[in-house]
Symmetry: C2
Subunit: 317 residues, 2 copies
């Protein structure tokens, strides 16, 4: 395994799509080599990518907007990664679509890496695999990674929290204000994009959003950018808004704070996953069964049993 994995990581660093795809699959499937892969990726990290999250309700045009931003960053000559963890995204469809999903215009561009991640059901699955997948894309030389999620569930909010900048997409006539308020999305949005801005109600939607933003007492006021992603309109304005937010992050020290919080979350997620697998081992040893039987017989209360379980899981071996 060891030399195979280190070859794979070395090949991924050269930006070879197949190696990148293979590593992300291993990460996503919780391969036994994951620990080693992560250590190798961390050992000599050439640079840190800018992570931009895109989220919003289904039908708002997230994938088209992602495509538009890929174009915009490519025009700057940047290598771009895309992670689509949106189950409604055409890039996902609930499963992996092979090595490298071909996005219309970027099929032959060696500097664009697009990857779908299956949104796994188990607790913490996504939150735990995504940082590792980002690391693979960084190792492959991506300077910016767009993470596309759908803005509904907790898992997606968790993924949005992986981003340096979170873009919330809305469209006129979707009852946006209400949605935003309900989802508590105002707290996570760094940039609002009102897509399909050639539709009626765009000005009203923008106004409503700006009023909500004015009421929120936050040091950063999210700009509201109208776009028509299908025609590429507004791409430069979105990128300018993203640059503005990045400058704010760097100037205020918030970038370091966010990345620090991200690292904390990742460490915790790995620790909990590790512990769960130790519990499973203890179940294999029947130790957990013995504790459960004693709780059933009212010999032990479950808190004391949990303490014994943690103590057993904490002992090496």
């Amino acid at each position: 395994m060891t030399s195979e994995v280190s070859d794979l990581v070395a090949t991924a660093r050269e930006g070879r799509p197949r190696a990148v795809a293979r590593l992300i699959s291993m990460v996503e499937n919780g391969s036994p080599g994951l620990r080693e892969i992560t250590a190798l990726l961390c050992a000599d990290r050439p640079h840190r990518a800018r992570i931009i999250g895109l989220t919003g309700p289904p039908g708002v045009g997230k994938s088209t907007s992602t495509g538009m931003l890929v174009h915009a960053f490519r025009r700057r000559g940047m290598r771009v990664g895309v992670l689509a963890v949106d189950p409604s995204s055409p890039f996902t469809g609930g499963a992996l679509l092979g090595d490298r999903v071909r996005m219309q215009d970027h099929a032959t561009d060696p500097d664009v890496f697009i990857r779908s991640m299956a949104s796994r059901g188990h607790l913490g699955g996504l939150a735990w695999a995504t940082p590792q997948a980002l690391r693979v894309l960084e190792a492959a030389g991506c300077e910016v990674v767009l993470v596309e999620t759908v803005g509904v569930g907790q898992a997606e909010v968790d993924v949005a929290s992986l981003a340096d900048t979170t873009v919330v997409l809305l469209a006129p006539g979707m009852g946006d204000g209400v949605q935003v308020a309900k989802a508590g999305i105002l707290e996570v949005a760094d940039v609002f994009v009102v897509n399909k801005a050639d539709r009626e109600g765009t000005q009203a939607a923008i106004r409503e959003l700006r009023n909500m933003i004015a009421l929120a007492d936050r040091p950063w006021r999210p700009p509201v950018v109208p776009t028509v992603a299908l025609r590429g309109e507004g791409a430069e304005e979105v990128v300018a808004a993203l640059d503005g937010h990045l400058a704010y992050l760097e100037g205020s020290g918030e970038l370091v704070r966010r990345r620090q919080a991200r690292a904390r979350n990742e460490i915790e997620a790995i620790a909990l996953t590790t512990l769960r697998s130790r519990f499973a081992d203890l179940h294999g040893d029947r130790r957990l069964d013995v504790l459960a039987a004693r709780v059933l017989d009212a010999e032990l209360d479950p808190y004391t049993a949990a303490d014994e379980l943690l103590a057993a899981a904490g002992r090496p071996g």
Copy 2:
């Protein structure tokens, strides 16, 4: 705290509704006295209640069916508890509805305890609070507890797994077969109830269900019982089906296995919650921050950091 809590537990054992409600609130809110409450409840458990889970899609008539079963068990002279953890249930409405929610006909019955539990957002919240709430109801002398959940999310499946017998409710014309297959609910159902059986399509729905059941290779074949809960029709047939399943559970040794699995899950859930709060303490100590900073600086990979976190959380004090 100590004597107050033990007085409360003693009063709850006498079946006083206010003490029962107060204890369940404490359990649900993660009161600091929880550990002590649980220990007291476990110390001298008079008997074990029969736990019956009711689940199904919104609009199927779960609350009406729960009410019908409360009646049926009361006719047998049994003391009955109800835990409604269905966010769409009129008993919940997303929050606690006071000490003891008055269900139409049981408002003045001292042998019926009805309680709504807010379905909390955080991971494992419900799975962790429900067993404790069940314990309170058992201490109050409930011989049967009905746990009403909505059959959609993982949390609800987790709660269903707390039951000795899980009843899945369906209604004709809701695309039941597809729903059942999709939700993997066939694996958790011990008894199917087709409610609103005065509607067109009832026979077709029952046939479709029986065909699906026949295809599944399980030692227990869930019976399919038609009801019209609104008029109390089919109550005795449901109770007979529940008795049949209980006899199967006892005869096959499955009852012990299920309760054993339940105790394991509870111990694990408590252990994970305990560990999380230890992580939070370590964050307070800035130890987690130091680990995160080292990961950010690529001094440490996150797996090694997670190992250090677990080791630190495992050390007493």
